[in-house]
């Protein structure tokens, strides 16, 4: 029963946060000095008829509160509306662009987690040796190098030494898709490794000192079996939790990386939207990213309790 109550409470919290943020974003965007009508008309000849037509189409003559309610109703019924600049349905634009973002997030999380676990276990097994200190300082270094500097150095390096490898811009088939997300994916994974590797290391070290490992040693179990079958099973839980939260957080960091690698994802769309004062796109994308972040962290919370039954969820 505690589970159901907890889940309901969390879901309610997600709904409330989303609602509050939607309100905050909608109203505060209208504080911006640029009026929607200038954005909509853009560089077209501004005639009174055109102004009249757009004012009606985008409900600009209604009071703000009413505009918000209209917008919210549309969103709830699945219609994300039309953007100000291209006047295309936002839903289609998002569907066109979301594969890149999802691909990036999943690819980098899987790669980063696997790498981090391997590095962390290695460091923990070789604790106190030069391998451990080398790996630890490498991770400290990697965690301080900003992602975008790393991506730029990667671009510089690849364009100089592997000029045939195309990893920037749009894609037309699956092979190209993978080659586009490979480089940014690896860079995001490196950022993940820096944090997650340290978590794995400390978690493995505490497990390797646990009494049951001493028993295993006393029984004469070989070292690989001690490490991987026994210690790892217990050590992996906090690692997966942190990985889950970082997975959720990486939705935000794709914004930057997509912009750097000119990938057609929703992150780049958000930045362009902000630059052009394209309010409908900004509103919707902020909500999309926020909801995916909240839902992901919610799922991680639940999984945490499922994986480790000792944890009291509430």
């Amino acid at each position: 029963m505690a589970y159901v109550k907890y889940i309901l409470k969390k879901l309610l919290q997600i709904v409330i946060i989303t609602f509050l943020v939607s309100m905050l974003v909608f109203f505060s965007l209208r504080l911006n000095e640029t009026s929607p009508l200038t954005v909509i008309i853009g560089n077209k000849q501004s005639t009174p008829e055109l102004q009249q037509q757009y004012t009606e189409q985008f409900h600009l003559d209604e009071p703000l509160l009413r505009q918000y309610i209209i917008w919210l109703k549309c969103i709830l019924s699945g219609d994300l509306g039309i953007d100000y600049v291209q006047k295309q349905p936002i839903l289609n634009q998002i569907i066109d662009r979301i594969p890149v973002t999802i691909g990036l997030v999943i690819f980098s999380t899987i790669l980063g987690t696997v790498m981090a676990i391997l590095i962390g276990i290695l460091a923990a097994m070789k604790r106190g040796t030069w391998i451990d200190s080398a790996l630890s300082s490498l991770m400290l270094f990697l965690s301080s190098v900003p992602t975008f500097v790393m991506s730029i150095l990667a671009i510089l390096f690849l364009s100089k030494y592997v000029p045939g490898y195309s990893f920037i811009g749009t894609y037309s088939n699956f092979g190209e898709f993978m080659s586009r997300i490979s480089v940014p994916g690896v860079i995001m994974a490196v950022g993940l490794v820096a944090t997650l590797g340290r978590v794995t290391r400390s978690s493995m070290i505490s497990q390797l000192q646990a009494p049951y490992i001493i028993t295993a040693k006393a029984k004469g179990l070989n070292r690989m079996k001690q490490t991987f079958k026994h210690a790892f099973h217990n050590a992996v839980i906090p690692v997966l939790t942190v990985a889950g939260y970082m997975f959720a957080a990486s939705i935000g960091s794709t914004v930057l990386i997509e912009q750097i690698f000119s990938l057609p994802g929703i992150g780049g769309m958000l930045v362009t939207g902000i630059q052009q004062n394209n309010y409908p796109i900004v509103q919707v994308l902020v909500l999309v990213m926020l909801i995916s972040y909240l839902v992901m962290s919610f799922v991680v919370d639940i999984l945490y309790a499922v994986v480790d039954p000792r944890i009291d969820i509430s």
Binding site: I17, L20, V21, L24, V25, S28, L29, L31, N32, E33, T34, G128, L140, F141, S143, S144, V145, P146, F148, V149, I152, L153, I155, L156, S159, A249, I251, G252, S253, V255, L256, Q259, I260, L270, V271, G273, I274, Q275, N277, V282, V286, M289, L290, Y293, L294, S297
Partner: protein
């Protein structure tokens, strides 16, 4: 494990080297207008894309013939100044809120912490994007956006510190002497908790440099013709086929400074935090005593 030669000291090789890098950046920022060899915004169409180490321009020139070294130094000024402003912003607003919430507790505290939870639920980069979308692009709005995104964590830290600190005996003594709450919070508790927070603030400077460079890189922060390291990086990115230094120089500088700030803050953390401070082993302690001649004196006294 074997390296324990620099225990209990602040000036370890790491802190000295990283401190020197930070100092150079700060000096470049403070004396920018004296140090620049050329006007950083002066356009010279005759000398575009000069390579590094060419005559008169050590780092070469960019697309418009502007001297890169001068622009890097001026960029240091905007980048460092903005980073300090961001941290100052979060300290001036975040710390008092956290302290007051933690000291009084109760409904106000619960309410503000709930709001913080909501703000923390939004990834900080996304939050600054939202704020930029609201306030418009620009240097100051960028600083504000990042500062606001940093506030909740600072406030939470200050709050957790004061919650343990307010049970201390000296706080009770202050209360019994009839000091006002504000006096107790700001002139008695704050000096005791601020040292713990200093390491975090140092680290935040690194994060602030990166965040601001990110915004400028995306064209949402500082606006041309002014430049910080983020803008220079963006310019370099567009023109690196013509001149690689344009890209490499800001990238390397940002990397050096942020890594240095992180290592430096680690050093501060280790020095300040008594639980993390590496105390000398007994042998080293003995050696130190021997060196100072104290041990012999003590033995004589015995």
């Amino acid at each position: 494990m074997s390296k324990r030669s620099n225990v209990g000291k602040f000036f370890t090789p790491q802190t000295v080297i990283s401190g020197a890098i930070i100092l150079i950046a700060v000096i470049a920022a403070v004396f920018a207008n004296v140090l620049v060899p050329y006007d950083p915004n002066e356009v010279d169409p005759l000398s575009c894309f000069l390579p590094a180490f060419s005559e008169g321009h050590i780092l070469g020139t960019d697309k418009l013939g502007r001297d890169l070294l001068s622009r890097m130094i001026m960029g240091a000024r905007s980048s460092m100044l903005n980073a300090f402003l961001i941290v100052a912003f979060e300290v001036v607003i975040g710390v008092p809120i956290g302290l007051i919430c933690g000291y009084y507790g109760g409904k106000l505290d619960a309410m503000i912490m709930r709001i913080w939870d909501i703000v923390c639920a939004i990834p900080s980069l996304l939050l600054s994007f939202i704020l930029i979308a609201i306030f418009g692009r620009g240097n100051l709005t960028g600083v504000m956006a990042i500062g606001i995104a940093f506030i909740p964590l600072t406030a939470k830290m200050a709050r957790s510190l004061i919650i343990t600190e307010k049970k201390a005996v000296y706080v009770e003594a202050c209360k019994s002497m009839g000091y006002s709450d504000m006096k107790i919070i700001f002139s008695h508790i704050l000096p005791n908790v601020i040292t713990t927070m200093i390491a975090q603030f140092t680290m935040d400077i690194g994060a602030a440099i990166v965040s601001m460079a990110t915004l400028s890189y995306l064209g949402l922060g500082i606006q041309p013709p002014d430049a910080d390291w983020g803008t220079l990086l963006e310019n370099g990115m567009q023109n690196f086929y013509n001149n690689t230094v344009l890209l490499a120089a800001p990238a390397i500088v940002i990397m050096l400074v942020t890594v240095a700030v992180n290592i430096f803050s680690d050093g501060i953390q280790e020095y300040i935090d008594p639980t993390q401070r590496k105390l000398p082993t007994f042998k080293q302690y003995e050696k130190r005593l021997l060196r100072s001649g104290l041990l012999e004196k003590r033995q004589k006294a015995d």
